[in-house]
């Protein structure tokens, strides 16, 4: 976490908005642990994940491009980084209230309606959006336009169409324009990178307790990716697979990042005047770093 471009620019342009953002972090530290009530093991959605996503956003945007963002855009992206997975920890009461507002499509034709945690996992971006709307005052989000922008950027991290001009418009907020398509694209790519990169597996889990083959393979794949570097033109996964069987699985992860990179880069290019400068995602051995 070396750069903090977004945080520094927000503080320089609008100290009051920066103070509101830092004030929110206190509640978020506790709120983001609430995912454990539904998902006691395996994936990390704590504030560590949020901070990693924010760090990857900073690296993807870079020092030069961050100078083209206004204060509100910096604020929206930072808050969305912290809040994008907040839906993973909704209370049971909020789960039922929010469920009435979510379009589940035909999901329950093939999934058990009683499996609340699985429903939350599958639609957590929608639960996150509704949570942010309901508790916007807790975070002192100063206007409806900013609430909308944070909700949409958070929802945009998965399973949403970033080309949709209704869902992801340019938002006029006072005299500023918030370029939602760009923010959501950066957010989605940063989240994809972090899903591959870390999730704090060694910190949170004892791999020796895993018994299901699916879990062992997932752990081994993530464990093989020792670090991720975001450079100006490429994303590099530095790897050290403990077993041969993890090599194609790491390649699959890399392919998924490349697909997301291609999509997000195209969204940024076609729907904003800003760029995602990275073009490829590659796998290299850890010792080549």
């Amino acid at each position: 976490m070396e750069e903090f471009y977004l945080e520094q620019r927000l503080r320089a342009l609008d100290p009051a908005l920066h103070t509101k953002m830092t004030g929110s972090i206190f509640a978020l530290q506790k709120l983001l642990l609430s995912f454990l009530s539904w998902f006691p093991s395996f994936t990390d959605h704590s504030i560590l994940h949020s901070m990693h996503v924010l760090d990857f956003c900073n690296r993807l945007i870079g020092e030069e491009q961050v100078g083209k963002l206004n204060a509100k855009e910096c604020y929206v992206l930072i808050m969305a980084c912290y809040l994008h997975d907040i839906g993973m920890g909704v209370t049971e009461k909020d789960f039922h209230a929010f469920s009435e507002k979510i379009d589940f499509g035909d999901y329950f034709q093939t999934h058990d309606k009683e499996d609340i945690s699985e429903t939350i996992r599958a639609f957590h971006q929608e639960f996150s959006g509704l949570f942010i709307q309901k508790y916007a005052d807790l975070f002192e989000i100063p206007s409806e336009e900013l609430v909308f922008a944070i909700v949409q950027t958070s929802r945009g991290h998965r399973q949403t169409d970033l080309y949709d001009e209704t869902e992801f418009p340019q938002v006029l907020c006072g005299e500023d324009v918030i370029r939602l398509p760009y923010l959501a694209a950066v957010m989605r790519l940063a989240d994809e990178i972090d899903v591959a990169a870390d999730r704090n597996l060694e910190l949170l889990f004892d791999a020796s307790t895993l018994t299901r083959e699916r879990d062992i393979l997932a752990f081994g794949t993530h464990d093989s990716i020792r670090s991720v570097s975001v450079e100006q033109e490429r994303i590099v996964l530095y790897t050290r697979p403990k077993e041969e069987k993890f090599i194609p699985l790491v390649e699959e992860v890399n392919k998924k990042i490349q697909t997301t990179l291609d999509y997000c880069k195209d969204v940024a290019r076609k729907r904003s005047d800003l760029l995602i400068t990275q073009t490829t995602s590659v796998v290299l051995p850890e010792e080549s770093r």
Binding site: G23, A27, K30, L31, S34, Y135
Partner: protein
């Protein structure tokens, strides 16, 4: 925000009125830092507190931490809206709320 402090022996009641947010939280924080000496029972009265944000929660928790070393703290007259905030943030498990 208005802060009304009443002392009764080693007990102190702090009644808050208005909004406890990033604007007012530093004021409460500074006020409380100079007030806790000799206090063994701290009561926050939220009867007239309209709203609390994350920044406000931080100050309440700071006081809880300070009081855990020298006595006890409780929060009384909490509205349903603020109770929901305590509940969703996990503060209902940390604070003594009556």
């Amino acid at each position: 925000m208005t802060i009304n402090k009443t002392k009764n022996g080693d007990a102190m009641t702090v009644a808050l009125e208005g909004r406890l947010d990033t604007t007012t939280a530093p004021e409460l924080d500074a006020d409380m830092k100079g007030s806790l000496e000799g206090v063994k029972e701290l009561i926050f009265d939220f009867a007239n507190l309209e709203y609390i944000s994350s920044a406000g929660l931080r100050v309440i928790l700071a006081n809880q931490k300070a009081m855990s070393k020298q006595g006890s703290m409780k929060v009384v007259n909490v509205s349903a809206e603020i109770m929901e905030i305590f509940s969703v943030t996990g503060f209902s498990d940390i604070l003594t709320i009556e």
